[in-house]
Amino acid sequence: MSNITIRLPSTRRTQNQYETGTSYLVTPGDVITEDTDYMRGHGTYCTGDADDKLYSSVAGVVERINKLICVRALKSRYTGEVGDIVVGRVKEVQQKRWKIETNSRLDSILQLSSVNLPGGELRRRSATDELNMRSYLNEGDLISAEVPQVNVDGILSLHTRSLRYGKLSQGCLVIVSPSLIKRRKNHIHNLSCGASIILANNGYIWIYTTQHSSQTEEGDGGFIISNESIPIEDREIICRLRNCIKCLAKRSVVLYDTSILYAYEASMSYKVKQLLDDEVCDEIVNKTIYLLQQANVGNSEY
């Protein structure tokens, strides 16, 4: 009974209706500047010979902040910073710690001492805790955590010591490039459309139903997951959000709560599965960009 759409292969015309502005674009090996006053940031390098020229090592946009020059590539792996929120999958259970895969250069580490165990936070970790690690987090579980520390070799240490973090369930994961997530004060939002979202800095976005407050008493530690069934309307909201985010990510629009909400509102005139079509996707993204530009004209700071 379902309709099947088949598309002929052809290159799509990209619509470039918006002014590009005067961003300075470079490719690997370009000379950015010959002035020795500037400090080298990410994405640049010096050959160390006498000529002192600053070269770019990635293809991207040059950002200059006072005397610091960096080149930001459009797509790259996640580089952690202190204070970020990440969503990751447990890859391995080791002695007294878990290895979490977070789309970064090296896997992150969650120590047993950095999680909340049932029975209160101040409990000392005993040998039984160590043997029971698998009952808390097993391989393949998704967790949300915060980064309190970045080690010298680049490995992130995570912690889930607050009740906002912990094992994730009853939701949908969307993976986008980390460069599309805007750094803001808050990354966990309860959207007005009826679902909640975690915009993790490593590009993993978790959409889930807003928890009702009858849950987790103190001391659960965020490891108990409820497996109650979610009603169909909530599931539709989550699906619609997921499709909107995929559309925005395809056109490299920066993701934050306002842009996602605009896209959601623009998508209400279509059915959820129509959002996967290219033309519908373009229309929604254009509307979102237009609304964002209107909002920018009024505001000066977010």
Binding site: T27, P28, G29, Y45, S57, L74, R105, G154
Partner: protein, 247 residues
């Protein structure tokens, strides 16, 4: 030597090109969404796909090769069964595949800034869909585009081209028929802006005096390929960067 002339009396090669002309180059970036970076390149009839994963934590079977101060590059080259005129099943670990993988790995170890990614691994997967000469060159060009797509730091582009010498004229961008004709084939990979040759390979024998001419021919061929690829990358950047700065 071949029974037919590689260059006709009017100065054209058998596929209609002039000796210093490249084949048509078409490329695309971002063809796979699952890989960190990917690219597709066509040089005439030679068609190659490249996919890059990384930098990421070393996988279990490569754990022993991890270096503490730089990243480890793992390259896998494979040719589809339907890529050559004769349908031939090639196993993954065969001599030619391993050879090509080793050469490409060597090339990119010189070009990628490996000190920025200690203890990590970068995977380069190359798949030839249609082979018509200059395989190494097409693979290197495809891998360069894919690395740029993945945002991995490199010193410069890496462009590769091949050349051959016949009757005192150098032919640039050899195709399969010219390869089989029996003349010496010289391939090289250069970093065009820094003007450095990072890999060169000669199949066959030439006189010492002819080497200079071949190297010049290959260098000019690489610079031509660089011009095409760079124009494409900049076009891509302009398209996506305009939305990017919407914040």
């Amino acid at each position: 030597m071949a029974g037919f002339e590689l260059i006709s009396d009017e100065g054209y090669r058998f596929d209609g090109r002039k000796p210093s002309e490249l084949r048509r180059v078409r490329c695309n970036m971002g063809v796979f969404t699952q890989a960190d970076g990917s690219a597709y390149i066509e040089q005439g009839n030679t068609k190659v796909l490249a996919a890059i994963y990384g930098p990421h934590e070393a996988s279990n079977n490569m754990r022993s090769k991890v270096c503490l101060d730089k990243c480890f590059i793992n390259c896998e080259f494979s040719q589809a069964m339907f890529s050559s005129a004769e349908r031939k099943k090639r196993s993954r670990g065969d001599r030619k595949g391993k050879d090509m993988s080793a050469h490409i790995k060597q090339t990119f170890e010189a070009a990628i800034r490996t000190q920025l990614y200690p203890r990590s691994q970068i995977d380069i997967y190359l798949q030839v869909l249609h082979s018509d000469g200059s395989l190494y060159c097409a693979c290197v060009n495809a891998a360069t585009l894919a690395l740029i797509d993945a945002g991995i730091a490199m010193k410069d582009y890496v462009c590769a081209c091949s050349a051959s010498l016949t009757k005192e004229t150098s032919l640039i961008d050899i195709n399969h028929v010219e390869e089989l004709a029996g003349c010496a084939e010289f391939s090289a990979a250069i970093m065009p802006k820094l003007d450095q040759i990072i890999y060169s390979e000669l199949n066959g024998r030439i006189h010492q005096d002819e080497l200079g001419q071949l190297v010049d021919a290959v260098t000019s061929g690489c610079k031509d390929i660089f011009a095409v690829i760079d124009r494409f990358v900049r076009g891509r950047l302009e398209e996506t960067a305009s939305y990017f700065t919407h914040s």
